[in-house]
Amino acid sequence: MSELLKVPTMAEMMAAGEVPEVLFWVGCAGSFDDRAKKITKAIVKILNKCDVKFAVLGTEESCTGDPAKRAGNEFLFQMQAMMNIQVLDAYEVKKIVTGCPHCFNTLKNEYPELGGNYGVIHHTQLIQSLIDEGKLKVEGGDTFKGKKITFHDPCYLGRANDVYEAPRQMLQSLDAELAEMKRCRTKGLCCGAGGAQMFKEAEKGNKEVNIERTEDALEVKPDIIATGCPFCNTMMTDGVKNFNKEGEIQVMDVAELIATAADL
């Protein structure tokens, strides 16, 4: 933990005349949310460990515009998108990895029509390929031996972009017991944060969506609820607290699990 994280910015790289392989798009949650910052650090530790030559935009990064777009504010979204594209293009970015499925979806699917063409991957895809290539060894697999892990599919990773396998393959390398919820993969239930719901109170109903989803997770009696989205993480953490289970069940990002298992 005391080890210093190496997090070069694009500006620093450029000044040093270097070109990173990949831009790490941290996202707003990953930059500002206390819980999500830990996920960001776990991703960085993995990138550092594998000597991936990456950089972040730092203070030049700005919201992708995703929450504005889902809420119907197309003006604001496109303003954000075009400003971000100007920055990304100025640094001649080709490849982006992001820790947030919402940023991932927006950058990958909605920026090209506005002139921003990049190869965009989610951190689970990058980490999985690092494992596949043998660059990352998850040797401390014992950490999770005998633990039961269930994976909650983020909507913007799963249904929205058909990424179901990468996070599951990562979990398999942990030597833990993987238990699926009754609603998983294409049938996965939303955590309740998408579509800009994260930023407002829910409409009148008889239950919160994250409670409904946490019940799905509790049914499989997991030790760990894994996910790949900072917003899902918040919602599931709140859900677990609601059932007073925070002592028994941890909500973790797959990147954090891998970083822990790899002793980073």
Partner: protein, 444 residues
């Protein structure tokens, strides 16, 4: 001769009226904005073959899928028999293909009879699911009144139709055995159709010759009258999906579900704003014709695909039963979004035909049919889109209407308005300074 004339009139009126109603629906659908779905033809055919013809998405729920398959197979295969019925009706002959087709004819009719029995069973199972088991998605509040009746009517019509088929074939079998059938007598003593060779004698064996003739004719005419009634009921019913499922899956959105459209009118304005050299006064005037709204207030602001979706919807409610907002008691029901769109489109179409193109009835899809509360409950999770067995996309309608609320009426919920302001000022949805974006690096 009289029979031929009656049949010909029935055929003309039946098909003519159907064509007229299809034309009406087509005109309504074309009221929508244009969207290009002509690309990637092979992928589109593949989607149609798998999803519509192959019922791929139905099989996510196996029990209704098997029951539905029984009805679907019976419906599709029975169309082959209709060819002969049309030919017989127009020529005054009876079972005119039997002599020339021989064993194949016996096989086909037997196949149809077996499928009809399966369909008969499925129909009762479906009636039970709707009315006795009260499956939640069939008893929600948008499923009262006409939608409920519509669902039951079609099932009852199917039962009657199948009864007519067995009256027709069963009585004819007994008549054939007695040498009275109007079909050519091949001297084989029985039609040997899989079901009616048993059902016929069992039900009608004791009847007099003249009663048999009557039962057979009621069966034959009843069947064809039901076919034409069914055909003309379709355009007024959710059962239109049996036809529209094909074009609707063909014109599916082939992009990733997470990709929302980028509003082009907005793009032009944003580009103008961002271009330091742009002279706003030199901007070309908007194209001739109506000024396009940002987002959708009424059905005419939606695309023709959205409108085609609405007519294709068969109100099965899989979307709503998978919707996280609906499951947690919120007002939103994706099925209701589709039904409202169709009902409003019907109304707009009627107004245009009655009062001309520019008539304004002062109503709109938003507020008169769909409330803002429903729209704001959506988490954009795509569960409804994933679930729809015929690739309907309720989410794109919800998004378009949110766009209208936000961009034309500035009616976003106040917390969302705050979120917008934060993004504008700080580049993040929360009130954090952009200058602090990298602070996490040095925190412990």
């Amino acid at each position: 001769m009289v029979a031929i004339i009656v049949f010909s009139i029935l055929l003309l009126v039946g098909i003519g009226a159907f064509a007229m109603n299809v034309g009406r629906i087509r005109a309504n659908i074309l009221l929508g904005r244009d969207v290009d779905r002509t690309d990637n033809k092979s992928e589109r055919f593949k989607t149609m073959a798998l999803v519509a013809l192959g019922q791929k998405k139905m099989f996510k729920r196996p029990i209704p899928a098997v029951l539905h398959l029984m009805l679907y197979a019976a419906f599709v295969i029975t169309q082959i028999e209709l060819i002969e019925i049309f030919a017989d009706g127009l020529t005054g002959q009876h079972r005119m293909f039997r002599g020339s087709l021989g064993g194949f004819y016996t096989f086909m009719i037997s196949f149809i009879e077996i499928l009809s029995i399966l369909a008969f069973i499925a129909t009762f199972a479906f009636l039970a699911r709707r009315n006795l088991l009260k499956i939640p998605r069939f008893t929600m509040k948008e499923m009262t009144g006409w939608p409920k009746l519509d669902g039951n009517l079609i099932l009852i019509a199917e039962i009657i139709l199948i009864c007519f088929i067995f009256m027709m074939n069963g009585a004819d079998e007994v008549m054939y055995q007695r040498g009275l059938s109007h079909a050519e007598n091949l001297g084989d003593g029985s039609f040997s159709f899989a079901v009616s060779q048993w059902v016929g004698p069992a039900l009608f064996g004791g009847m007099s010759d003249s009663s048999l003739e009557l039962v057979e004719r009621i069966g034959w005419w009843g069947h064809i009258v039901m076919v034409f009634s069914f055909l003309n009921y379709l355009p007024f019913s959710k059962h239109f999906h049996i036809l529209l499922a094909f074009p609707n899956t063909y014109y599916s959105n082939l992009e990733k579900k997470g990709k929302f459209t980028n509003n082009e009118a907005v793009t032009n304005e944003v580009k103008l704003m961002m271009d330091p050299n742009a002279d706003p006064f030199a901007a070309p005037a908007p194209a001739e014709g109506e000024v396009q709204r940002f987002g959708a207030k009424d059905v005419t602001d939606l695309t023709w695909k959205n409108l085609l979706d609405s007519y294709t919807c068969t109100e099965c409610g899989r979307c709503t039963s998978s919707c996280p907002a609906n499951q947690t008691g919120k007002l939103l029901s994706p099925r209701k979004i589709m039904m409202d769109t169709r009902d409003r489109l019907d109304e707009v179409g009627k107004n245009i035909r009655k009062h001309g193109k520019d008539y304004d009835d002062g109503k709109s899809l938003l507020t008169d049919y769909i409330s803002a509360e429903e729209l704001w409950a959506c988490t954009s999770c795509n569960a409804c889109v994933e679930e729809c067995p015929v690739n309907i996309d309720p989410l794109s309608i919800i998004t378009e209407m949110r766009r209208y609320l936000v961009m034309e009426e500035s009616k976003a919920p106040s917390e969302l308005a705050t979120m917008f302001t934060n993004i504008e000022n700080n580049g993040a949805p929360w009130q954090f300074s952009q200058a602090d974006r990298l602070k996490w690096k040095d925190e412990n």
